[in-house]
Symmetry: C2
């Protein structure tokens, strides 16, 4: 420290000075590293925070290859240790989720305006792919409600699913391809953090809104309306419903209410007693069977109840010839692919992580993205549309005691048998039963307790949640999502643009300096203004900080009439980074304060900030001697000696 | 502190315990404030950081009105004290900038594909408006090169300025109106921080790129090419230049080189000796006069030298009937208005602030925005296009010794005289002279030393700068700007998404804890892992932090085989905010570490974070007793007592 420490005190003071001199440490530059080394370290932190290759180090080549294969194909990790008892568990859980997957597959495909069979195709190939590539043991793969809804709503703007059925199908497959490419590339480029921008609050609001929209769409089946609006929003749907009261069919309504109550009761039972998971898991299939029988026996299709109709037997046909890259549709399919891909990926990864945390294993986000992406790329070539891991089915899978991804294989094989032999049985299945199944499935997406917790915790987060919900319900599915994400990002940017500037005071009898607005017993040190800036200083806030400090000094001067303000102590501990604008701000602040007779002291600049201060000083020599201290305590002690001397 | 401090030590230890107990302070909640009060305080910090109404408090009503009038009309602040000597200074500087404004006005209008007279109109009305509303004393108002260029390039996509001259003019006026509305509303809504997102690095790159583009466009005039490309980029312009070598006119080229050298020498002289500011200030007018005389005397217009041609005398005509809000052009004019408004505003405010800092007065950003915005709204109704404060002209104004905005009035009156009586003199002014004037004016925008300083200081900022430059030169003016702003924002978001996690160690013999990677003499405390997270914890980084801590613990366990890791001390001093995802992360971290036998300790949560921890604890009781400490020192001391006891 270059400043002379006052040495004319009394006995006590001298002891303190001795103690302090022993303690005093200079602010030093961090160890030198080249720009390249720094960028490498930064890139590693950014893209490989989990450091997936750390086990590779120091291994012989053969082991490395084996490790790489196990990294890319998680099946190799668990298959060798697979036992008969595992198989027994997986068989039970696989059959259970198959009984759920078949009715849901048919229903969700209808949600996306696709033929019901596409939903079954999508429950056959993708689960097999995932079983090889996926690292979650609990994820039950297949079509999911939200992504189906979004695809249905976005593609309907480009092609009419009724009159242009083939074109619509082509667009759906091509969107699925783009969704897969997008998902896989997020994984390969290790940009998985993109999905982190969908915060919990956004998702809670979005899911609830989507559940409302999905349920509203089911009013068509549940009320038996023939001419239904093609729009999604609450207002047009309710308008359509009450405009068409003449089309309401009482037979359909009675059947709908009956099955809805049945399914909701089954759901309630399983939620109360997780052991009875099979009640809610089997209920949809039971619904389909019972309703189909009822229709068949009473010839209800002649009494206003609409049925699925004939479905062809047979497995997935190749569909790569159906992919179209026509420039007039390319925009729509890419946009649809991005949105559905992002949403289904978010759901899949979140579900995988949730159950992994329950069982205490780890799911690698980037690897999951590759798995889900490849699954959708393969799917788009085999007549499947966007698939992911659904929460409801995965929960059933988990409760049914699945051990590995083999349960997905069992489910796929069951669907295969259905596709090959059982399709004619679905001819008489009424659409109203499917509507009831969908409504029950999406009811679980409305998470009121979570919304309440968000409200309790953070009002601004709740606003984001509410905007997502209202946006989805009243504007559009993509619109609501965009509003919520935009709002969350804006909030982060605002935190940067308007960083907090905290005035610190000394907690008397200690060397601790804390916010005077937070700790009542923290008192300002006369002659000093100690301020901490709580954000990186950069172009986005340099101007603001300039104005803020102007005001701080002015307010302080009003208060401090007696002693007069001599030092502005800037605690930089919390400033994790600066850019050129930030450095200019610090330099300008120092100069403009010096003009007013106030000396600016920088305390504890961290690594990067210290380096840049040093570099700026090399060019401009603005720091002078003794402007840097390691702690506030030292700065105050060293600087207040001449002050004390001056006043005596 | 609820934890029992070990009391079975030796004498020394007991003294230390006493000292510590005296010092020990609990982490407390900040003083209670209602949500409304908090939101009010936050809104004030966000929108009124300079607190413009602080002088109003406690004043009688009459004084308040007077203050409000002075706030809205800065002219009232300086006019009463205006003296004769001020007028003398303003007269000199006003005439000087008029001699610069007339040729520049004509040239810049050509840059925007507008008739030259519009450039003069724009140097007449807007300065008068600014003189009443503006708070800068040095800003010289009028057309500016970059905004002219952008307007020219963006409107040309919607209408051909040669064949659809009237429509093009209408679009220009309407764009100006939207630019003004946008600027004024930024000021009124106190969203001035929007322009802060154009960082220094972005502007340096953007300005240099724009200078290159503008200069390239002048090759048309300087080489005398008749058929010139309508594109802006480097590649098409150079292609056009070398494709049309047959149109090059040697007379034009000779004249161009002559005037270019003349102007550049004049500029150089004034830069070396600021006292000789009038050399560069008068040079353009001299150029125009000399070149016009040359053309007139030698009838050079018949020898391949293109001239301006006939201009009508008379003042600005009203143009509000020329504003069109036709839906087919609305998108273009709004976009053009936004971009030109933003760019010209940035330049105007930056120039105003620069000279205000030199003279030691203050320019209020939001007030400036209102002034510039209203000036453009009025301009759009009086045949003016986008105007702002130009750097070059303001510098001349400043050097010429201007005292107040009266210099703008003098300039406007001079332009008025020109418009009324001197227009016929410009008939023979050759376009090549105007080209030379533009090139000289924009050369100053290429700031190589600034780019070099940015390179020295911050490589990432330099990348932003380079992208802005290359984007403007090779893609488009708006494209370059968008790339640079996007990159700067991405960088901020990345800082949030990937916050630094710093491992702290004790600097031996002190109570200071600093980064072990920065300070060599900081050593880890056995049994403890002390980590500081250097950013707000929120949805964007909760997942990352989770993975990062997993790895930190794993790495630490490898190192710490002897003692074993017992405590994870999380220094939250630097975490300025958390949201619901952040709180979930902290809760999950505490739980998952407890499963491994590691206790998580939170140190010094600041106001908002403490409140939310408390609220989460009220719901879940996850904190337990003694998980909160005010300083790392206290946490280590209190917690290591049982450790020491256990090992003896």
């Amino acid at each position: 420290m270059e400043r002379e420490v006052g040495n004319g005190g009394n006995g006590d003071g001298q002891v303190e000075i001795r103690v302090l001199t022993e303690r005093a440490h200079e602010v030093v530059l961090p160890p030198r590293r080249s720009t390249l080394a720094k960028m490498k370290a930064r890139a590693k932190e950014t893209f490989f925070p989990d450091d997936p290759f750390r086990h590779f180090e120091g291994m012989p080549l053969g082991t490395r290859w084996a490790l790489a294969a196990r990294y890319l194909l998680p099946v190799l990790a668990w298959a060798p240790a697979y036992s008969l008892s595992d198989l027994k568990s997986d068989l039970v859980s696989g059959l259970t989720i198959a009984s759920l997957a078949i009715p849901q597959g048919i229903s969700y495909a209808k949600l996306a305006n696709l033929p019901p069979i596409i939903g079954l195709y999508s429950s056959f190939v993708p689960p097999l792919v995932y079983a090889v590539l996926g690292s979650s043991r609990d994820l039950a793969v297949g079509p999911v409600s939200i992504a189906s809804l979004i695809m249905g709503s976005m593609l309907r703007q480009a092609a009419n699913p009724n009159t242009d059925a083939l074109l619509y199908l082509q667009l759906a497959f091509t969107s699925t391809l783009f969704a897969g490419l997008f998902q896989a590339s997020l994984g390969v480029l290790r940009l998985g953090f993109i999905i982190d921008f969908l915060s919990k609050a956004t998702l809670v609001g979005f899911m609830a809104g989507a559940a409302v929209i999905v349920s509203l769409q089911q009013l068509k089946s549940l009320l038996g309306i023939v001419h239904f609006t093609k729009q999604m929003g609450l207002v047009p749907v309710m308008g359509s419903v009450f405009h068409r009261t003449d089309e309401w069919s009482w037979q359909t309504i009675v059947m709908g209410i009956f099955f809805l109550i049945l399914l909701l009761v089954a759901r309630h039972v399983s939620m109360k007693k997780p052991k009875l998971f099979w009640v809610s898991a089997g209920a949809p299939l039971a619904c389909v069977v019972v309703s189909t029988l009822l229709v068949f026996l009473f010839k209800a299709q002649d009494h206003g109840i609409s049925i699925i109709g004939k479905l062809k037997c047979g497995l997935n046909r190749p569909s790569w010839d159906k992919l179209i890259f026509d420039s007039s549709y390319l925009g729509t399919v890419i946009k649809t692919g991005l949105v559905t891909g992002l949403i289904s990926l978010t759901e899949g990864v979140a579900v995988g992580r949730t159950f992994a945390a329950l069982k205490g294993y780890k799911v690698d986000g980037n690897k999951e993205m590759m798995a889900i992406g490849i699954m959708n790329i393969v799917g788009s070539c085999t007549s499947c549309y966007v698939t992911s891991g659904a929460f409801s089915r995965s929960a059933v899978n988990h409760n049914a005691g699945c051990k590995t991804a083999v349960s997905n294989v069992v489910m796929a094989l069951t669907v295969m048998v259905t596709l090959l032999f059982l399709m004619p049985l679905f001819v008489y299945t009424p659409n109203v039963a499917l509507g009831a199944i969908i409504v029950t499935a999406v009811v679980g997406l409305v998470d009121v307790p979570a919304a309440y917790r968000i409200w309790k915790m953070d009002k601004m987060d709740f606003l984001v949640c509410l905007c997502a919900f209202l946006g989805v319900v009243f504007v559009s599915v993509e619109g609501g999502l965009a509003i919520a994400v935009g709002l969350s990002m804006f909030r982060i940017l605002l935190q940067i643009t308007r960083p907090k500037t905290v005035i610190l005071g000394n907690i008397s009898g200690t060397n601790i300096y804390r916010s005077v607005h937070h700790y009542r017993d923290a008192v300002k040190v006369p002659g000093f203004l100690i301020v901490a800036v709580e954000a990186p200083i950069n172009f986005a806030n340099a101007t603001y900080l300039n104005e803020r400090f102007e005001r701080l000094i002015e307010e302080e001067k009003l208060e401090e009439k007696k002693v007069g303000l001599s030092f502005l102590v800037l605690d930089l501990s919390v400033v994790s980074a600066v850019d050129t604008s930030g450095i200019s701000f610090l330099m300008d602040l120092k100069r403009s304060m010096e003009k007013r007779g106030i000396e600016v002291i920088f305390v504890n600049p961290v690594g990067e900030v210290m380096e840049k201060l040093q570099r700026a000083n090399d060019i401009d020599n603005f720091l002078g001697g003794g402007s840097l201290f390691l702690t506030i305590e030292e700065a105050i002690f060293v600087l207040s000696c001449p002050l004390v001397k001056g006043s005596t």
